[in-house]
Assembly symmetry: C2
Homo-oligomer: 255 residues x 2
Amino acid sequence: MVPTRARLKLLRSLRRRDARRREGLYLVEGRRLVEEAIRSGAAVEEVLASHAFDDEALLTAAAAHRIRIERIAARDVERISDTKSPQGILAVVRSVPGGAPPLREAGLHLALDGVADPGNVGTLVRAADAFAARSVLAGPACADFENPKVLRAGMGSTFHVALHRTEDLAGHLSEEGIRVVAATLDGRDALSVGPWEGACCLVLGSEAHGVSEAVRRVADEELTVPCPGRAESLNVATAGAILLFLLSGRRKGDP
Amino acid sequence: MVPTRARLKLLRSLRRRDARRREGLYLVEGRRLVEEAIRSGAAVEEVLASHAFDDEALLTAAAAHRIRIERIAARDVERISDTKSPQGILAVVRSVPGGAPPLREAGLHLALDGVADPGNVGTLVRAADAFAARSVLAGPACADFENPKVLRAGMGSTFHVALHRTEDLAGHLSEEGIRVVAATLDGRDALSVGPWEGACCLVLGSEAHGVSEAVRRVADEELTVPCPGRAESLNVATAGAILLFLLSGRRKGDP
């Protein structure tokens, strides 16, 4: 069935955050991400494939999950797509309402306090997934988890980790029973971080201004990755991954 | 002096790698990077500022380094610039001929075996700088150090670390006296890396295929960042930064 002009316009609008919020839908592009969305049980409403798209394994996987597959013109894929050379495959995915962030659940969590660059947010979700974090919580002014660039940098990890957003990051972090570790430029040497148990949430601040004052006030501890060289600081995704790596290795009771 | 059309065309062509190689020049954009280029003693030939540009401290620093400052129209800045909202300031910098890579000099070095994404290359140069690496060596198929996106992600670190490129990465790495550590997906647990002294070079492979066979053959050791979670792997810049961090902490004789 050829999609109507109105339908194409709606799909194309999903590049914008306001449209994604309004429709409760977002787009996933490319063979690898669409496959990962299906495999991970994301709420895929529909797969759109160009007539030339011939990855039968992917189409079979979609059919096995009872996902509708619509064939559309390559030109229409290009119109909808966020990339310059789309691979002829897209999925329309329903946003999952977040609910309360599970910060008090035992394990490692990550919170983003204004991380604005979508590449950084995606890379951090991928690192959180790699180091077995339970959830990622985004405060105000963060790039949207459903932003196409976040999805690409996330390499499928956005479908693995529980993702939440909140307008009141400091409020959630100040609940009892969560050890809050803030990454700052003048904290304790991260290598000295001791063993922990229960729930631990690492907070990373914005690229320009770091962790906000409100969040610093509720943090139990501030950690810094020591940089003996000349660079003033590390990229937030780099520093965050090093801290997730160190914290994940210091969890009590792990083998 | 108003730049001629031919001059503008030449400057604009420097977005392309072939033109940069031919002219031996590249462009640095934006207040922060231009300042860092001047302060670090990069071979700045000229600073181009729009008529409205009024950061007197930066212009004074350029003048103190006897760098010519040319005022040009904002429209011309936009024509030359790689960014959508240029800050009205550019520097024309002469490429420094690389010479032989200093891999045998005592300390930590980084080699890139086909890291193609400019954001990754820039982030890795920044991490190499932060962890006091002596040099970064790029093999074939790497993003160019003078690529505007590499410069932006490098945040000034491209002016601090010795940067080299080679067509024969495995050849340079196989020289005597260099401990070569390759990052792979099935190496030894990176946390177990022992102390080292002398010259140590970490090699990171391409985003899609990892370290090449030729380089693996000359490596003394393969290390992997353990990922207990579901993500199959880390982004190369993330994994590289964690390994640089660990290696920089295990250098013998460091405080």
